[in-house]
């Protein structure tokens, strides 16, 4: 499997506080990797560094072979993201936002690509509606459409289904899985919904206090640590990280 995202020795400190402590991981082509951990574990900090909006204190990030530090534009052309904490400008319509970001990512045949994504995410009726007045679920779908505009080699999803009803969330999960299965790119997915992670992710990384504590298949990982479900394992990571570290 070809590596599309390579993170090596990534560290981020704020003064004396270490937010991310020398983490190393890869995401392969067609793979969906879950980045899990309690609030403040360093997930969003890690994603911000991969997106180039936060400088690492140490370490390297390569997106589809392009070093983010030295080939920023080339690296970011191959990535995209959707995050609940970064909605698209609410004063522009769905189609306007997609056009602007399509131009920024250098998408070819942009109008056709926008039409296809509007169809894929059932947004045709909202095409000329300002994003600011959409429901949170609709905004999430627009964010995902934007995230897929450039057919990214690395797709970063920060709690992509957090504000969706179960039916829409399942639909979105299916679409993301299909995207990964087509082999267009790898996905790094953060979520607090362990049921979802188990169903979607090929591999998970548990972050705690900025370090990768556990890594493995979300289906086989819980029994390995004496837990019945991924959710129980998550709670254990959040409450007793040191116990797990030693096991």
């Amino acid at each position: 499997m070809r590596t599309v995202l390579s993170v090596v020795g990534l560290r981020r400190e704020y003064g004396k506080t270490v937010a991310v402590e020398r983490i190393t991981f890869q995401v392969g082509e067609g793979e969906i990797v879950g980045l899990l951990g309690p609030n403040g574990a360093g997930k969003t900090t890690t994603i911000s560094m991969i997106l180039g909006v936060l400088a690492p204190s140490a370490g390297t990030i390569e997106i589809d072979g392009a070093d983010l530090a030295t080939e920023r534009s080339r690296a970011l052309e191959r990535a995209n993201f959707a995050a609940v904490h970064a909605p698209l400008p609410g004063n522009l319509t769905v189609a306007q936002n997609l056009r602007i970001f399509g131009l920024l990512y250098g998408v070819q045949a942009l109008s056709a690509r926008i039409d296809a994504l509007l169809g894929q995410f059932e947004l045709q009726a909202l095409r000329d509606v300002r994003c600011g007045i959409l429901s949170s679920g609709e905004q999430t779908r627009v964010g995902l459409a934007k995230a897929l505009l450039n057919r990214p080699r690395v797709l970063l999803l920060d709690e992509p289904t957090a504000s969706l009803d179960p039916a829409t969330a399942r639909d979105i999960r299916t679409k993301i899985r299909a995207y990964a299965a087509e082999g267009e790119g790898g996905v790094l997915w953060t979520s607090h919904n362990m049921y979802e992670v188990e169903g979607v992710c090929d591999r998970v990384l548990f972050l705690s206090h900025g370090r990768i504590l556990l890594e493995g298949d979300p289906k086989t990982l819980p029994p390995r640590y004496g837990k019945a479900t991924l959710e129980e394992l998550f709670i254990a990571v959040a409450r007793e990280p040191l116990t797990l570290e030693g096991s």
């Binding site: 180039g52 909006v53 936060l54 534009s73 970011l76 400008p89 004063n91 602007i100 131009l103 250098g106």
Partner: protein, 267 residues
């Protein structure tokens, strides 16, 4: 530098203007009020002074050019504020967009919006007060260019201040033209100023524009040396402003300010 990415920033601003009367009206309403106000003041002064001195070209021409410079500055900073108000930094700067492409987009947006203000001022000044700035001939363009460049520099500088100090700092930006205007002799010769103000004035490109224009209005030749110095200073200010913004941006990426930019995000 990718033209499409710069174009995306301009297109974003066009979309915002097209759909919003509250964004379009300020492009010309304040400058129109200024022209009307100063036009009548100039007419009144002409009446008081008799036929010995024509205040219209001196005062109204100065207001028109200074307002143009201010509109260029506001054009750049307002285009930047749109991203502040929409909390759009993470979306924008996680794309391949480079800083020069972004700043280029802000400047082109400002060219378009300030041109609207300039057109309204020219029409009003000519139509109501008989002042034809274009009557000065092509010799006026270097003066306009210097003011444009200085407006760009102020706009980028102000944007850098807001990026560094947070959205609330936009109140530092709006009064900048008013703060600068006493030093650059918009309405009076620099010799009127006390020596310490004249020292500052010599460092500001618009000083050379307004001194030069007064020289021409008094019947003198176009002061090439003044224009050259003013242009060189203006280019230098643009370079300094870009360097300042890039430095602030790098600081914001390094400290996490950009990723967590909020109303009270000074760090």
């Amino acid at each position: 530098m990718d033209g499409a990415r710069t174009g995306a920033i301009v297109l974003r601003h066009f979309y915002l203007l097209r759909g919003s009367l509250t964004r379009v009206v300020p492009l010309f309403i304040w400058v129109a009020i200024d022209i009307v106000l100063w036009g009548y003041i100039a007419r009144y002064l002409n009446g008081v002074a008799g036929a010995t001195f024509d205040f219209v070209p001196v005062l109204l021409g100065a207001v028109l050019l200074w307002d143009f410079c201010s509109r260029v500055m506001y054009g750049v900073s307002t285009a930047f504020f749109e991203d502040v108000w929409a909390r759009n930094f993470v979306n924008l700067f996680s794309t391949p967009l480079s800083l020069s492409e972004y700043l280029g987009g802000l400047v082109v947006s400002s060219m378009i919006t300030s041109a609207v203000g300039l057109a309204v001022m020219l029409v009003l000044a000519a139509g109501v007060f008989g002042l034809s700035v274009l009557g000065y001939g092509p010799g006026i363009f270097p003066f306009v260019l210097i003011l444009f460049l200085f407006g760009v520099a102020l706009g980028i500088l102000g944007s850098g201040v807001v990026l560094r100090l947070g959205p609330a700092a936009e109140w530092f930006v709006w009064p900048i033209p008013a703060l600068v205007s006493p030093f650059v002799g918009v309405f009076y010769p620099l010799a009127t100023l006390p020596p310490w103000m004249q020292h500052f004035a010599r460092l500001l490109p618009p000083s050379y524009v307004f001194e030069g224009l007064r020289t021409i209005l008094a019947g003198g030749a176009t002061p090439i040396d003044m224009l050259t110095l003013g242009a060189a200073l203006a280019v230098m200010y643009v370079a300094i402003a870009c360097w300042f913004f890039a430095r602030i941006y790098r600081h914001a990426v390094r400290t996490g300010l950009l990723a967590r930019y909020t109303a009270e995000s000074v760090s």
